[in-house]
Subunit: 156 residues, 2 copies
């Protein structure tokens, strides 16, 4: 599972998609900014700063990092202004299931008063849930149902 260095100093010997994902979004403010963009639809610097209570220098650094990594695009609000917004790309939006999984864990294990919010399926009013399934047989999977095998990107 662990081969040559792939991620430089921080994650030497981590040829693993979890490690690579965390390299992009592992610092905890990062996932909160992504949550804010995904679930509250925030795009403006001021909105992120206000909602999260995050220091401006950290927020700037995180947003720049997202733009450089292709998770967000920095777009001018109009031709007549120097104001910008930060819009999730497909790569950024693809973190939706991760945010849903983290939420579900927090709802179950760290919300003594019950879930602060629920994710409602707009069309039918059901409550969104995430699970791990096997598309081959349709079964819902838990950890003990699973083996880790080398994949196409495994290093020899």
């Amino acid at each position: 599972m662990y081969a040559e260095h792939m991620l430089g100093r921080t994650y030497a010997n981590q040829n693993c998609s979890v490690a690579r994902a965390l390299e992009a979004v592992g610092e905890r403010w990062s996932l909160l900014i992504i949550r804010e963009a995904l679930l509250a639809g925030s795009t403006r610097f001021g909105d992120f700063a206000r909602s999260l209570g995050i220091a401006p220098n950290i927020l700037t650094s995180r947003l720049d990092h997202f733009v450089a990594d292709g998770l967000m695009a920095r777009q001018r609000l109009s031709e007549s202004t120097e104001k910008y917004e930060y819009v999730l790309t497909d790569k950024g939006r693809a973190l939706f299931p991760t945010i849903v999984a983290l939420r579900a864990w927090g709802d179950e294990w760290a919300a003594p008063d019950g879930p602060p919010t629920v994710l409602e399926h707009t069309e039918c009013g059901g409550e969104a849930h995430q699970h791990v399934t096997c598309p081959a047989c349709g079964m819902d999977l838990v950890l003990r149902d699973i083996d880790v095998r080398p994949g196409p990107g495994a290093k020899p």
Copy 2:
């Protein structure tokens, strides 16, 4: 969505299960240690240290934090030894879908040579996938299908 302070200094104004989940596991080494415990079955200090290349003082601090937060239990290996292992609790194992979701994102967006590993359903050989679904109507959900509503633990 955001009310009174819940998480002390770091996440003031974050009455949100994502924030609370990240409070427990948001520092990026933490999720790699959990991944190692979940997917490689590691329980020993030396195994974590070797596989992750993590500095002993950071690893000690992370494992202590997991034990304090109830994600791992520290167990003596036998009565005749002072050696311990760190075993995931139900609360720790419940991070499995989060790890699967992060892996899936890394496989899709940060694995140019293809997924380093695959999670195989032991019984049938299918490849585990993570989904967000609506249990009420059975639909697979994406971000645009969802509204965020106050939940039972919302603060007035």
